[in-house]
Symmetry: C2
Subunit: 206 residues, 2 copies
Amino acid sequence: MSQEKSSYPVSKRGPEDHEVRDQIVTAATEHFSRYGYEKTTVSDLAKSIGFSKAYIYKFFESKQAIGEVICTNCLREIEDEINAALNKTAYPPEKLRVLFKSIVDSSLRLFFQDRKLYEIAASAATEKWDATIAYELRIQKILQGIIHEGRQAGDFERKTPLDEVVKVIYLVIRPYLNPLLLQHSIEFNADAPMLLSNLVLRSLSP
Amino acid sequence: MSQEKSSYPVSKRGPEDHEVRDQIVTAATEHFSRYGYEKTTVSDLAKSIGFSKAYIYKFFESKQAIGEVICTNCLREIEDEINAALNKTAYPPEKLRVLFKSIVDSSLRLFFQDRKLYEIAASAATEKWDATIAYELRIQKILQGIIHEGRQAGDFERKTPLDEVVKVIYLVIRPYLNPLLLQHSIEFNADAPMLLSNLVLRSLSP
């Protein structure tokens, strides 16, 4: 990257750009998780990392751009956990149960174990950052894969259009996927995954 | 009422207590809907109605107590609309569709047409006022009635425990019933009632 023509000429040969970006993201994650995302400015961040504000702006055009990377990392972590859980079973109805359970468990753990990072996720969901939209689409893709597989195996009915089934199951799980809704659904978290996946499975019976 | 022994002796014979209460509630509804619930104090309210603060406190122990009555009135209005819609049909599956549609339509109209009154509903939902809890239980009761009726008519399956079915359908509709969730679900309002009631009806097929 540092060999490429850049609109930000680097005065001397230093670490690779992606290394500096990673370094900023790591420090920002640490800083935000301690002091919160909303209240922190890029100046605060620069001071705490020991970089100049101008240097940070060479790598990220705004605080949100840093937040987006952190958010993407968080959502990837949830997704990795979901995929790891799904890989343990091959039976589509069971995959659906596992999907519901792991979405609720991973989202809760990540969004609420660390209340300060929750702020970033909440901003992302409120302002519909690309990271959130991409994540929601990927979850719908996973859902679509499970339904498709279950239909082929004869486990699920095939009369209802696939798109409708994916969309409505996504609507059912959305309150436990979106951090803005999740914060108001916590009292139901113990029962919801089981009850909702049972309902969905009854609706899918051939 | 004014004949009864009261802990607040009235100095001269005036209007009945319930009349004064209604008068305060009407004026407060008007005032809150213009200036918001959160920012208004009982002093502001007293000034605007032309009563003394002490006089208002004779009838309501707090601002929340007034808010509770307003909230109850709002929720009753939603419920009346839901019941009026339900009375137009006798077929349980159709009743379920109507229930979903009318919950979404009435909640949206009442909570969002008047953003300032929405604040009261949001406080009520956040702080779990009695008015909200009672409303949620009444909606569950309506739901239970429809499921029970559909089971007796042979329209719905009877294997799943009735309580589980009621609870899970309530969970499915909750994002459109609870104002805190509804504000984050608006983009789905056009499709959600139809998609979700179709899903629920598929799950109920005998």
